[in-house]
């Protein structure tokens, strides 16, 4: 699949918290194992057939499309760091502070970023003396996207809280009529990145809520 990269940028719609506690934390480390994702998007053939008759050729193939890092414009740990910082400053009852010596340190690990879905191609070609004709069509989706992020909250080097959150999102099937397959592939890639972005947004909100709950109990 020949696609460009697309941005995971999203709009935040969580409730803005204006009154903050004095608590500050720093986001120290974000682990992202390179095995979590393929570097490039993969299209793996699952099944397919080709019938070469004398005058008619018919084909059909079913593939699995797996999102690679190359489909995403942003560097994933950097995106998580900046999105989490913005979300904490928006809906957290605490603040991110990197300048002074914050009381708490947050360590994150991106355990899973998996987005994949079907991509099907079928068509036929016929030829009879001077007459020939052909038809082909591709269709894609829906893809399923899963993201898992775990974190450890540390105080003076000691882990005081740890948790992990998952999010799953299915993309909308693409029912639009496409005159060329590259447009279909482009929209399919956009929908996959959109679903991954949604999952990151979801997980980030869950982490901030969890930390809010912890810090409000500490107060």
């Amino acid at each position: 699949m020949d696609v460009n990269s697309f941005s995971m940028a999203y709009l935040k719609d969580s409730k803005i918290v204006d009154e903050k506690l004095g608590t500050t934390l720093s986001i120290d480390t974000i682990y992202f194992n390179s095995d979590v994702m393929y570097p490039n998007t993969q299209v793996i053939r699952q099944k397919g057939w080709f019938i070469p008759l004398v005058f008619v050729y018919i084909w059909n193939s079913q593939n699995n499309c797996i999102q690679g890092k190359s489909m995403i414009e942003e560097d994933i740990p950097t995106f998580l760091h900046s999105s989490l910082t913005e979300e904490i400053n928006r809906s957290g009852i605490f603040l991110v502070d990197t300048l002074k010596n914050p009381t708490y340190q947050l360590e994150l690990s991106i355990d899973k970023v998996d987005t994949q879905g079907p991509y099907r191609s079928s068509g036929f070609f016929y030829m009879l003396l001077y007459v020939y004709g052909y038809s082909y069509s591709d269709n894609a989706g829906p893809a399923v996207s899963k993201v898992s992020v775990s974190y450890k909250l540390k105080k003076d080097g000691e882990v005081v809280l740890r948790n992990a959150f998952d999010s799953e999102k299915t993309t909308q099937p693409i029912n639009k009529h496409y005159s060329n397959t590259s447009m279909l592939q482009r929209d399919y890639a956009v929908s996959m990145v959109e679903a991954t972005s949604y999952n990151f947004k979801d997980v980030i909100e869950l982490i901030v809520n969890d930390l809010n709950q912890y810090f409000s109990n500490q107060d």
């Binding site: 941005s7 940028a9 709009l11 719609d13 414009e73």
Partner: protein, 186 residues
């Protein structure tokens, strides 16, 4: 021959009447009640970029008889919707520049002309809490249109974020989310 000329002229005139926001066919100008109805009736609000104004008043010819800012906006947006060029130009040439609403009106007018820099100039001069959301949405759309490469929309996403944060209405929040969806699939 004469008959064909009149038919062609009729088609051209009606094309202008059905323009979406003045001469700008990339956006749809709609009143709030019509937008809510479209949404409720399941009509597509995702694949169109709507500019939602509080009201539209079809009695636009009385625009010179009032100083009420809400009424002026309602009458002018109706003219804009119907692309009444002569009336709009006449109003803009004679309007009271001390009335704040005329900055929003001029912002909308230049937006309809696809003159986004000029539109931004007037929108930035406009201050009225009642129209904060409309103003911020138009500003975000102007910045988006001024992008050299539309794929770089993440550079201006914060303007849409500001618009979203200015409203408590779920309908308007959905409108902003749909805008981002539209931009992503553009």
């Amino acid at each position: 021959m004469q008959k064909h000329f009149f038919i062609l002229a009729g088609i051209l005139i009606s094309l202008q009447t059905f323009a979406r926001i003045g001469q700008n066919t990339d956006y749809w100008l709609i009143s709030e009640s019509d937008y809510i109805m479209r949404n409720l009736n399941g009509k597509d609000v995702t694949l169109r970029r709507h500019i939602v104004v509080p009201f539209m008043d079809k009695n636009f010819k009385t625009i010179f008889e009032t100083n009420d800012q809400e009424a002026l906006l309602a009458k002018f947006t109706f003219m804009l919707k119907k692309n009444k060029t002569r009336w709009m130009e006449k109003y803009l040439a004679n309007c009271d520049t001390t009335l704040h609403i005329n900055n929003l009106i001029k912002g909308l007018y230049y937006f309809s002309q696809k003159n986004y820099s000029q539109s931004l100039f007037y929108l930035n001069r406009f201050e009225d809490k009642r129209y904060n959301f409309l103003k911020q949405l138009l500003i975000a759309d102007c910045f988006f249109e001024l992008l050299a490469d539309k794929k770089d929309y993440r550079l201006i996403i914060n303007y849409y974020q500001s618009a979203l944060d200015m409203t408590a209405s779920e309908t308007y929040k959905e409108l902003i989310h749909n805008r981002i969806k539209y931009i992503k699939y553009l």
